[in-house]
């Protein structure tokens, strides 16, 4: 079980663009380097990638919600 943290403050997105399915859903297998979400910071979109492999459990922050640096955005099993 591991937490994925936001590297920067900003606005969190768990879909690649509005209306699309989320990057990951509960039970999906996650490889190291997989994109988990996007952080919009100062009009720039930064990809948040998994730093280890696992099974996706949940997003801890809603789509398009503000996020702080270091805040947990998703959990892996």
């Amino acid at each position: 079980m591991s937490d994925i943290q936001s590297p920067l403050p900003g606005t969190f997105y768990f879909t690649p663009s509005p209306g699309e399915p989320s990057f990951k859903s509960a039970g999906d297998s996650v490889s190291e380097g997989d994109v988990i979400g996007l952080i919009e910071v100062m009009k720039t979109f930064i990809e948040v990638k998994a730093t280890e492999a696992g099974t996706f459990e949940s997003y801890e922050i809603g789509n398009e919600q503000p996020v702080q640096a270091g805040q947990v955005i998703a959990k892996l099993k």
Binding site: L8, P9, G10, T11, V41, K43, I46
Partner: protein, 450 residues
């Protein structure tokens, strides 16, 4: 003047700038802010402040209804849009008029027209302003294309009529390459958009970006000379200067006169900027677009002409005539502005919001720093990365560049990463010093550094 209470529908450094101009005119200021901006400098400087919504710009600074409701509740008589956000949104201007308020800028129909590339180009042509030569609309026949290209001159860009955003653009250096590339472009456009038609446009190689500041009151219009903004990264200007080092007197006057002619043709009201591409090797300039608002880089124009452009545009919105005649506007020395952004130039310009732990400005008296920083202030991550504009002025360009280095060295901003190291390196770059710059220069230079 009809304006007594001005609402500022923007944030950051330009909100501070507008408040200063309004105060100099004795006008009361009302600053709107999002929930993330309650601590920003403009909020504490304004006479009144109103929260208009949550952090995301779509729910605050882009929320026309919330802004107009705040203006009505605060008994404002006018709204200044700054730049960005709703500054060039015609529907915002219509809603302001419908509410019986004054918009500091031109009318909605003019904003619509200048916002439409084809309409803007046609208006420029009507005013005899040179535009980038190209085919009049779509071309389908190869021989016709070759004949048009011969007239406009090579290199030409082949652009899909149905495309956009630079997608599928091909560049033909001569007729042979045109005849080879057009069928490819057609086939690709047909596959991608279901429409194989294309148009041709002259490509200005190593273009310089030069723009003319104009101001109109509906009856008359004047120019405040030009700015050169050729140092850009991803089409974002980072270093702007006035005057341009590449124009001789006759070209400068032709350029500035063409901008005034355009302004007079449309009966322009307020501050505007006519943007051109300049081809140095032939001395030709071509209209690209007109921005119907105050620009980020307006301070360099203020430094060389001594006129307060923001105050002037407020006065004009308040029903007054231009306060200055063309013969009273002249160029004094050279001014450079650099944009200090909260970005890390050593890490692909990664944004760097955060708290200002130390702000120390060791600047000589002639240095201007337009910013919204103070120690303890936390720059929110939700908006633009621009945190300040450092503006220097000197008798000559060489001296201005030397002053700029000193001013940058005397600017300490701790707690966030900024583009100051990059800007300092630029002041030492040989091409920048000699003025041999164009709109692709900076990206090439950055590639060489990495």
């Amino acid at each position: 003047m009809t304006i007594q209470r001005l609402l500022i529908a923007n944030r950051g450094e330009i909100a501070v700038r507008i408040i200063r101009a309004a105060q100099s005119l004795g006008i009361k200021t009302i600053q709107v802010y999002s929930e993330a901006d309650a601590n920003m400098l403009a909020v504490s400087m304004a006479d009144e402040a109103v929260c208009i919504g949550p952090a995301p710009a779509a729910q605050s600074y882009l929320n026309s209804d919330a802004i107009i409701a705040a203006a009505i509740a605060a008994n404002a008589d006018a709204i200044h849009p700054g730049y960005g956000f709703l500054a060039e949104n015609a529907n915002f201007v219509r809603a302001i008029s419908a509410a019986g308020l004054t918009f500091v800028g031109p009318d909605a129909d003019l904003i619509d027209m200048m916002g439409n590339k084809i309409a803007a180009r046609q208006t420029a042509m009507k005013a005899d302003v040179p535009v980038v030569p190209g085919s009049d609309g779509a071309v389908t026949d190869l021989d016709e294309a070759a004949s048009i290209a011969e007239k406009i001159g090579y290199p030409v860009m082949i652009k899909a009529a149905a495309g956009g955003g630079g997608r599928g653009i091909r560049i033909a250096e001569d007729e042979d390459s045109l005849r080879r590339l057009v069928p490819q472009a057609q086939a690709e456009a047909q596959a991608a958009f279901g429409d194989g038609s294309y148009y041709l446009e002259y490509m200005v190689v190593n273009a310089r970006h030069i723009e003319v500041q104009i101001m109109g009151d509906g009856k008359d219009a004047v120019h405040f000379f030009e700015r050169e903004c050729s140092l850009q990264r991803r089409r974002q200007k980072i270093w702007e200067e006035a005057p341009s080092s590449s124009l001789d007197h006759n070209t400068r006057m032709a350029l500035c006169d063409s901008a005034v002619k355009l302004a007079k043709t449309v009966g322009y009201v307020g501050a505007g900027t006519v943007e051109y591409l300049y081809e140095e090797k032939t001395g030709r300039f071509f209209f690209i677009e007109m921005n119907t608002r105050i620009q980020v880089e307006h301070p360099v124009t203020e430094q060389i002409t001594g006129h307060d452009l923001v105050a002037e545009m407020i006065r004009i919105a308040g029903g007054l005539q231009l306060s200055v005649a063309q013969e009273d506007i002249s160029i004094n020395g050279h001014s450079i502005e650099v944009r200090i952004n909260a970005e890390n130039p050593a890490m692909q310009f990664l944004p760097s919001p955060g708290t200002i732990e130390q702000l120390a400005l060791d600047h000589s008296d002639d240095v201007r720093f337009d910013h919204f920083l103070y120690e303890g202030y936390t720059i929110p991550p939700f908006y633009d990365s621009l945190v300040g504009k450092l503006i220097v002025h000197a008798d000559h360009r060489d001296a201005a560049i030397a002053n700029l280095y000193e001013a940058l060295a005397g600017t300490t901003i701790k707690g966030i990463e900024t583009t100051i190291p990059l800007l300092m390196a630029l002041t030492k770059a040989a091409d920048v010093k000699s003025g041999q710059i164009h709109t692709n220069w900076l990206e090439h230079w950055l590639e060489k550094q990495s």
